[in-house]
């Protein structure tokens, strides 16, 4: 285990401490939960209004047919990625430090995808027909167009949601079993049902460990594929500023970058509220911030490459588009993105900051902001400055855009908080797994 100091907790303590997180979390928790629900309701009402009156309530216009909604969609899909990265990829790499943080990350993944999944529905003109994107025998005698990146999205996102949810649940089973054997009252009933009769017998572990590993092996390429597919929504189009081969790696890196940032944003308060300092400490944060630094540098490199290629290609449309990004109507968005994602992470070269939890928390907020603006710049700014000069137009978001955006945060945190209250946000079993069992000593 990465950490060297602080006497290692015994199995009994682990079960006790982590089970304790499910006790009464106090006022702060409920305050947060209420805010989340209120935000979510505001967003939901806005969407209902759009169902009634039309998408015109949002800031859309010709030629900017995609705006804040798709921006937010990409943002949340991105957030999701680091979760699977930490839970699956790091699992395959056997990096022990993940055990303390992966449950949080994984839960975040599921709820982020859950949030992202709403936006393709919210943003279409006739959302009551959105199910037409699913290939099923229908009275229109028509199948879907598998050449359209949007159909790829349907498959990628739904697969991602399914697999990450299953992954999370499988990981939970042994923990729930140990909770079941501690809990009382209605919780006991809940856990009895959800533990699926887990007892931790030799046969169970035998199949479980293998199955878990193959799940991880499947989830790993999935992570990389999902954001690649999302990036192809843009790369497959001929819009200047979208049509670039760099997009897939660029987006995946960006996704993990923003995801790790979000993990930090979530871990810091959880650690405080649930008093998990003993299980989540600076080392974990330092590892996370190293990951953030790496991906951040990749993203920054992608920015540079984009501009370089725009110049190097000699393609006037590309050049004009990127010039417009930096110095056009939307310069402020572009520079927010460049500073938050390109410059601020440079602080992470300093070990002091990597280990200072308040600093990381602030930094992670900036990265989240920057990554949202990255998507805004790519989507809105490119669209507002395309091929036909006469048809260029300035997009400005309306209250409907902002309410749905904040609503999505409400929705996400609502689920996350409910989860954290009722299920262990740190894996009991895996924390135990990396701590050797006590031995009588001597023999063997």
């Amino acid at each position: 285990m990465a950490t060297g100091k602080a006497p290692q907790p015994t199995y009994a303590e682990i079960t006790r401490d982590i089970a304790a997180t499910l006790g009464n979390p106090g006022k702060g928790y409920y305050a947060l939960l209420t805010t989340a629900v209120v935000l979510f309701l505001a967003g939901a009402i806005t969407v209902l209004l759009e169902v009634r009156y039309g998408l015109g309530l949002a800031g859309y216009r010709t030629p900017v047919f995609w705006g804040v909604y798709i921006t937010t969609f990409v943002f949340w899909v991105g957030i999701a990625h680091s979760g699977t990265l930490i839970s699956a990829i790091l699992y395959l790499f056997r990096s022990a430090w993940r055990t303390a943080v992966y449950r949080t990350a994984e839960a975040m993944t599921v709820f982020a995808v859950l949030t992202a999944g709403l936006f393709p529905l919210i943003h279409v003109g006739r959302m009551w027909y959105a199910y037409w994107l699913i290939p099923y025998p229908n009275q229109r005698q028509l199948w879907v167009n598998f050449k359209s990146p949007l159909i790829w999205d349907v498959f990628a996102v739904s697969t991602y949601l399914t697999v990450s949810t299953l992954f999370l649940m499988v990981g939970l089973i042994p923990d729930i079993a140990s909770l079941r054997d501690k809990a009382t009252g209605w919780r006991k009933k809940l856990y009895q049902a959800t533990a699926l009769g887990w007892r931790g017998t030799d046969q169970q572990w035998r199949h479980y460990t293998k199955a878990y590993m193959y799940m991880a092996a499947l989830a790993t390429p999935l992570v990389l594929s999902v954001h690649s597919v999302v990036s192809w929504d843009f790369a497959m189009a001929i819009v200047p500023g979208w049509h670039a081969t760099i997009f897939a790696p660029y987006f995946v890196a960006g996704a993990i970058y923003s995801g790790v940032a979000m993990v930090i944003t979530l871990l810091v308060p959880i650690r405080k509220v649930f008093k998990l300092e003993r299980y989540i400490h600076e080392d974990h944060f330092e590892n996370l911030s190293k990951l953030m630094l790496l991906t951040g540098m990749i993203v920054a490199y992608a920015y540079v490459t984009e501009y370089f290629i725009a110049w190097y290609s000699g393609n006037p449309f590309e050049q004009a588009s990127f010039w417009n990004r930096a110095f056009g109507d939307y310069w402020w968005a572009t520079w927010t993105m460049l500073i938050c994602n390109g410059l601020l992470p440079l602080f992470l070269w300093s070990r002091k900051i990597r280990r200072s939890i308040p600093a990381l928390f602030v930094l992670s907020l900036f990265v989240n902001l920057g990554m949202w603006f990255e998507r805004f710049v790519i989507i809105v700014v490119s669209l507002s400055f395309e091929y036909e000069p006469y048809a260029m137009g300035h997009y400005s978001a309306t209250w409907a855009d902002w309410l749905v955006l904040s609503g999505s945060f409400g929705w996400f945190f609502m689920w996350f908080l409910l989860f954290a209250k009722n299920f262990p946000t740190v894996s009991i079993t895996e924390v135990k797994e990396v701590i050797p069992m006590p031995r009588k000593g001597g023999a063997h």
Binding site: W143, Q203, T209, A211, S225
Partner: protein, 168 residues
């Protein structure tokens, strides 16, 4: 819990104690005993000595089914009602790779979990249980007829069980 053949149930706090207990049980020719542990544990696994779980076969088959069904579906559907878009071939396999890939993962994952469930059910043995086994103790349950219980209890105690009792 469910009715189980009578036997002896032992709880261990120490890994090496449990391991030695398991070894001696095997020497005594016991096979169908059950070992509980709060977390996967290599020493125990080694001692019990199962073959590698066949779950991986499910994964493989699931994945193959996924990729084939992915391509089959996309190609058949585009041929079933041919529509030209953007001057592209009606079945064009390159974009269909994405669908093929996603279905590989999806069906692969689902198959893996089905496999997990199936094999756990197949290898399920009725045995006595104690809540501590998901907390901090290793459990060993040895089903055996009444006359031989004494010997087993003694052996388990010798191995260093913190508690040994007859579960009838």
């Amino acid at each position: 819990m469910s009715a189980h053949p009578g036997g002896v149930l032992a709880a261990f706090l120490h890994e090496d104690a449990a391991v030695s207990a398991i070894r001696s049980l095997k020497e005594l020719g016991y096979k169908d005993f059950t070992v509980y542990s709060p977390a996967p544990n290599h020493a125990l696994m080694e001692a019990v000595g199962h073959k590698i779980s066949p779950v991986r076969l499910w994964t493989l088959v699931g994945g193959l089914v996924g990729v084939t069904s992915g391509f089959a579906m996309t190609i058949w559907m585009s041929l079933d009602y041919p529509i030209v878009v953007g001057g592209k071939p009606i079945p064009s396999w390159i974009p269909y790779v994405v669908i093929g890939f996603e279905l590989t993962i999806l069906i692969g994952a689902i198959a893996t979990l089905t496999g997990l469930a199936v094999h756990i059910l197949l290898t399920r043995k009725a045995a006595a249980y104690d809540p501590r086994f998901t907390d901090d103790q290793i459990g060993v349950f040895v089903p055996c007829p009444t006359e031989r219980r004494g010997a087993v209890e003694q052996m388990l105690n010798a191995a260093g069980a913190v508690e040994v009792r007859v579960a009838a």
